[in-house]
């Protein structure tokens, strides 16, 4: 591995996998939330207490970013699957797009969430 110069696309390939694994683990939270909603007010209260806490908010924020980044990075892979975007500058542009776009969408979603009263 040492013979390769570390590139942005290589680093982002690892991030795509890492975010995928994080999302995999995070589905437990999603399942817990849905099961709690079906179980009743007490169980749902536990989920809300957790997601409302500082650590809970950090996890959900991280989950939002992982989801948005993985989606955009995945769209980038889809462009490559279709046979486009293989030139050096195109590869870089797509990769920067996924990186910046993922962060931007995450911030946007959280601004909307707080603006619509989700921060309560």
């Amino acid at each position: 591995m040492q013979v390769y110069r570390w590139t942005l696309t290589m680093a982002l390939s690892i991030v795509h996998r890492a975010t995928g694994i994080a999302l995999y683990a995070g589905t437990l939270l999603l399942a817990w939330w849905l099961v709690a909603a079906a179980s009743g007010p007490a169980a749902y209260g536990h989920v809300q207490a957790f997601t409302g806490s500082i650590i809970g908010r950090l996890i959900v924020f991280g989950y939002t970013w992982a989801l948005m980044h993985h989606m955009l990075s995945g769209i980038r892979h889809f462009v490559w699957d279709l046979g486009y975007g293989f030139k050096a500058n195109e590869r870089e542009a797509l990769t920067w797009g996924a990186l910046i776009g993922g962060i931007a969408l995450t911030v946007l979603i959280w601004i909307i969430a707080y603006a619509t009263g989700g921060g309560r």
């Binding site: 995928g20 999302l23 589905t27 989606m71 889809f78 969430a113």
Partner: protein, 134 residues
């Protein structure tokens, strides 16, 4: 006997022997399903985000009312099925890449299937229960 000799003696055509195979011995079906579920989730992303926004700050009764409505339930079910399938395939690729011990690999792949199935079934059951008003 080399592979070339085997090919000469066989009645099967070269294409017939390799069709549906590949490194994972299952051909390209996982590759295709990975992309199918990815596109499905990308298309469902905005409706799912809208649903989650609607649920924020509401209590269980409010959440039940929203999640139990037919269009919301259908969108959530489609998203759950696509994500469970997608993550099962994705984690299997990771396992096949990094776990080289054959037995450990098989156990890991099995646990991966159990995890994806359990998460999917629990979520689907919850949505159906919310919809049926039980």
């Amino acid at each position: 006997m080399s592979a070339a000799d085997t090919a000469k003696r066989s009645m099967r055509t070269p294409l017939g022997r390799v069709r549906n195979l590949g490194a994972a011995h299952s051909g390209t079906s996982d590759f295709w399903r990975q992309r199918l579920t990815a596109v499905a989730m990308t298309l469902l992303m905005i409706p799912v985000l809208v649903i989650i926004m609607m649920l924020l700050g509401r209590n269980q009764a409010g959440a039940k009312q929203i999640l139990g409505s037919l269009p919301v339930a259908i969108i959530m079910l489609l998203f759950i099925i696509a994500s469970a399938w997608h993550m099962k395939i994705g984690m299997q690729v990771v396992i096949e890449d990094y776990v080289h011990n054959e037995k450990l690999k098989l156990v890991s792949i099995m646990l991966n299937n159990f995890f994806a199935a359990a998460v999917a079934l629990a979520s689907i059951y919850a949505i159906l229960q919310l919809s049926s008003g039980v």
